[in-house]
Symmetry: C2
Subunit: 107 residues, 2 copies
């Protein structure tokens, strides 16, 4: 995984997903196998996301700190690393400096 990550042969939805008044923005892509991912950006701040399905968060740019529900550890992630969040759970993500770019996969 690196900054040049790309997804081929997908369907891209034109309208963005906007959270926290624009501090987190993503675009949805649909893959040939029917799965869905979102390509997103997190601006500096702290945000809580709940999950329905389990999620894989791949960081493709920037840095973030993450606390997953029911965990008492804060973990750091840079571009090229990823973390999983169980379904029916959630995570608090903190971005401090430059924006954090991610790919979210719904497992």
């Amino acid at each position: 995984m690196d900054n040049a990550m790309e997804f081929q042969n997908v369907t891209a939805l034109a309208e963005a997903n906007i959270y926290f008044e624009g501090n987190v923005i993503s675009h949805t892509i649909l893959l040939p196998d029917g799965s869905r991912k979102t390509l997103g950006v997190i601006l500096p701040g702290q945000y809580y996301f709940g999950t329905e399905a389990p999620e894989l968060m791949e960081i493709v740019g920037g840095h973030c700190e993450v606390v997953i529900d029911d965990s008492n550890s804060t973990d750091s992630y840079d571009a090229g690393t990823s973390f999983k969040v169980p379904g029916d759970s959630g995570f608090t993500i903190t971005v401090s400096d430059s924006p954090c770019h991610y790919v979210c996969s719904f497992l």
Copy 2:
């Protein structure tokens, strides 16, 4: 053109394009014919964009007011409408209420 606009069989680049400290964010898609588009969001504010190649801006959500360089008219655009900007020119775009979603094509 409407909010459900989508682009099939494209390559989507994972890392976003960020302008004006995150007030304008887009993701790039590459089409089978080799052309490039960006799917973007403009948060409330006023922004100036210069152009190199001519651009087609299709509004797929929200509303904006636009003044193209060397023009003395301000034109309004809602979802489903579009405007062209010559190359080596530019435009001032103002978004007032809800975020404005666009598709930018490089002609």
